[in-house]
Assembly symmetry: none
Homo-oligomer: 200 residues x 4
DNA sequence: GATGAATGAGTTTTCATTCAT
DNA sequence: AATGAATGAAAACTCATTCAT
C-alpha cells in the first residue's frame, strides 16, 4: 500500500538525516536505505522537500508522544514528580529523536513558517502539561507565573539535552540529576510559595 | 593585508549562513557578498570547509565575549545578579549571533569533533563563571552541586533562546523575565540552602 | 473490445497533445485521461510511439474527411465555388484539429518518413480535388499549371490557418474572407485565362 | 566575453533543434556541440528554457532580416516585383531557418504568449512591407483590402514553405514558380483592379 | 485482463574547485 | 593578486517500460 512505502521512506530519511545531517541527506541515500530505486521514491513523494517535510511532521509528532505524563492522571504529587523526572531522564537519553528535533529547529529558524507553527503548537502543548502538573502537584493557582515557570522548565530541559548532544560533559549526569530531583521535590515548592506571595 | 580579506570573507560567510543556513551557503554567494570574485576567495582560504571552520571559531569566540560578568569583579551580590540578568536579557535579544550558535551546534552534533571540543571549552568557561558568581553572591561552597546548578542555569538560558529563535511566544517575556529575577534574588538563595544541607 | 480501449486511448492522447504538445505528453497523462492504469495501456499498445503513430494516422485521416467537396459532384460552378469557400472557412475554425495537424507536420519535418508519406498522400488527394474543381468550375484544361495553382491554393489556406493558430490577427477575418470570395469568383477566372494563353 | 559564449551556445542550440527537434535537444547535446562542459552552460544561461527562449528570439529576429525588400526603395514596379519573387524563392530554400520557424510556431501554439506576440510583430512588419510594395507597384490605394491581400500572400508563402519542408513534392517547383511570377506580374494587377472597383 | 508499484537510464541542475589570462 | 570562465562529479528529478499480484 501507499502508506507502507511512505513509512519506509520516512524511516530511511529520518535515519539518514540523523546520521548525515540534512545537508548530507541525498535522495539516493534515502532510496538505498529504504531498499528502493531512486525513481520509486517519486511514487510516494513529489520532491525531496516533501519527504523532509513529512519527516519534520512526524518528528514533531513523536515529541508529543514523548510527553507521557497525562494531564488527567489522578496521582499523588510525589508520584507525578517522579514521572516528570523519569520523562526528562528519558528524553535526555533518546539521542536520535532529540537530534532530529534540533535539526528541525534549525530548519524552522531558517524561516520555515509552517514548521515554526508546529514548534509553537508542540511547546504550547508541553508547557500546558507541565503547568497542569505544577498546579496539581504544588497546589499553586494557574496564572501567567505558573506558565512562565513551565516555559523555563521546558527551556532548561531543552538546554540540557543540547549540552548532552554536544557531548559537553562539563558535569557528571549524576549531579545534574540530583539537582533536578531536589528542584522537583523542594525547589518548586518553595519557589511557588515565593511567587504566590509576590503575586498578591 | 591578508587578514582584511579574511575578515570580509568571514563576515560575508556568517551573514550568508544566518540568512540561508549552512546548506544554502555557497562559495559563490559568500564571494559575491564579500565583494570578491570566486577565484579570489582561494587566495585567503583553501576550501569552503576552511571558511566554515573559521566562522565557527569566531562564532564561538563571540559567545565568550558575551559573558561580560568577570570572575574577578568585586561587586555586591545584588549587583552581580543584576549583571547576570542583564547579560541573559542581552543574549536573548542577539538573534543573529544566537542563530549562528545553533547552526554551529547543529554541525557539532553531526560529529564535528573539533567543533564539539570548542563547544565544551565554551561551556566550561561559562559554567565556571556562573559557578564563581554563585559562590560569591550566595555564599555557597564550590562543589559538584554548584557546578550542576550552573550547568542547569546555562541550559535554561539556551533553551529560552531557542524558544525565542523559534518564534514560540507561549509566554510573554514580561513574565519569563520576572521569574528569572525572582530566581536570581530569592530562588537560588533558598535553593543553595537546601542543597547545602542535603550535601552533608 | 480491443478497439474501444484503443479509441479511448487515442482520444486521450490527441487531447493531451493538443493541450501540452508532443513533448508534454506522457504515457501517465494519457492513461489518466483515458481512465486506464498505466499498465493497462500496454494491453492495447506496445509503446508510446505506437500510440503517437495512430494519433497521426487518425489525425491525417480526419483532414481527408474535411475535404467535403467531392470530385464526382455534378454541380454548377458557382455552387462548387461556394462549397470550397465554406470548406475553407470550416477549416479555419477547427482549431483543435488544425493544431494537431501542425504538431504532426512538426514531427514529420523531424524526419519521420512514414508521416511524411502520409502528408504527401493527403496533399496529393486534396490538391487533386481542388484541381478537379478548378477544371470544372473555370473550364480550364488540366495541366501542370492547374496543379500548381491548386498547390498554391492549399498553401494559402494552410498559411492562413497558421496565422489564425498563432493568434496573429493582423487583418480582420471579414476582409480576408472577402478577398477569398473575390478570388474564387473573379480572380481565378481571369487568372486561368492568362495562364491558358501563356501556356500555348 | 560573455556574449561570445552565449553566441556559441545559441548556435549549438539552434543546430541541435534543427537536427533533433526541440524534444530531442538536451543540454548535454548543446554543450557538446558548443564545445563546453555541461556545467559551463550555466555560466551563460540559468536554465534550458532560457536558452530556448533566446533561440526563439534570435530565430524570429532573423526572419525580419530576411525581408530584404525595403519599403523606402525607389524602384520600378517591375524591379520590385522581381525582388519579391527572389525573396520568396530565397525563403523557400532556407530550409534550416524555416524549419526553426515552424518549431517556434509550434511552441507559440502551445500557449507561449510572449512568443505569440513576437510572431504577431513579425507578421505585422512583413505584411506592412508587402502592402507598401503593392501600393507602389500596382498603384492601388492602401486600405483593408490591400492589407488582406498582403496577409494572404504571406500565408501562401508560409504554406508553400510548409509543403517544401514536408517533402510534399506534389508539383515541380518549376511550375509553382511560374505561377508565382504570373501572379506578381499580371495577377495582382488585375486583381487590384477588381477589388478597387468593388470597393467603391 | 488489469493494476500500480518498481525500475533505471537519462535529463536538468548545482557547486566546489581549478586555471589561463 | 585577481578574475571569472570552465570543469566534472554528483545531485534532484522524469518517464517509458516491466512485472508480481
Amino acid at each position: 500500500m501507499m502508506n507502507e512505502g511512505k513509512q519506509k521512506i520516512l524511516e530511511a530519511a529520518r535515519a539518514t538525516i540523523i546520521e548525515h545531517g540534512i545537508q548530507g541527506t541525498t535522495l539516493r541515500g534515502i532510496a538505498k536505505k529504504a531498499g528502493f530505486s531512486t525513481g520509486a521514491i517519486y511514487h510516494y513523494y513529489n520532491s525531496k522537500e516533501a519527504i523532509l517535510y513529512d519527516v519534520m511532521d512526524e518528528g514533531l509528532g513523536e515529541i508529543r508522544r514523548i510527553a507521557t505524563v497525562s494531564i488527567e492522571d489522578k496521582k499523588e504529587a510525589r508520584e507525578i514528580i517522579q514521572e516528570i523526572f523519569d520523562g526528562m531522564q528519558d528524553r535526555l537519553k533518546k539521542d536520535a529523536e532529540s537530534r532530529l528535533q534540533f535539526y528541525l529547529a534549525h530548519e524552522a529558524m531558517l524561516g520555515n513558517v509552517e514548521l515554526q507553527n508546529k514548534f509553537k503548537e508542540k511547546y504550547e502543548d508541553w508547557i500546558n502539561r507541565v503547568e497542569a502538573i505544577f498546579v496539581r502537584a504544588y497546589g499553586v493557582e494557574r496564572g501567567p507565573s505558573t506558565r512562565a515557570v513551565a516555559a523555563w522548565t521546558m527551556a532548561a530541559i531543552d538546554g540540557m539535552v543540547l549540552q548532552t548532544l554536544l557531548n559537553v560533559q562539563v558535569v557528571e549526569s549524576e549531579h545534574t540529576n540530583r539537582i533536578l530531583e531536589y528542584l522537583l521535590q523542594d525547589g518548586f515548592t518553595h519557589f511557588f510559595k515565593i511567587i504566590g506571595n509576590e503575586q498578591r
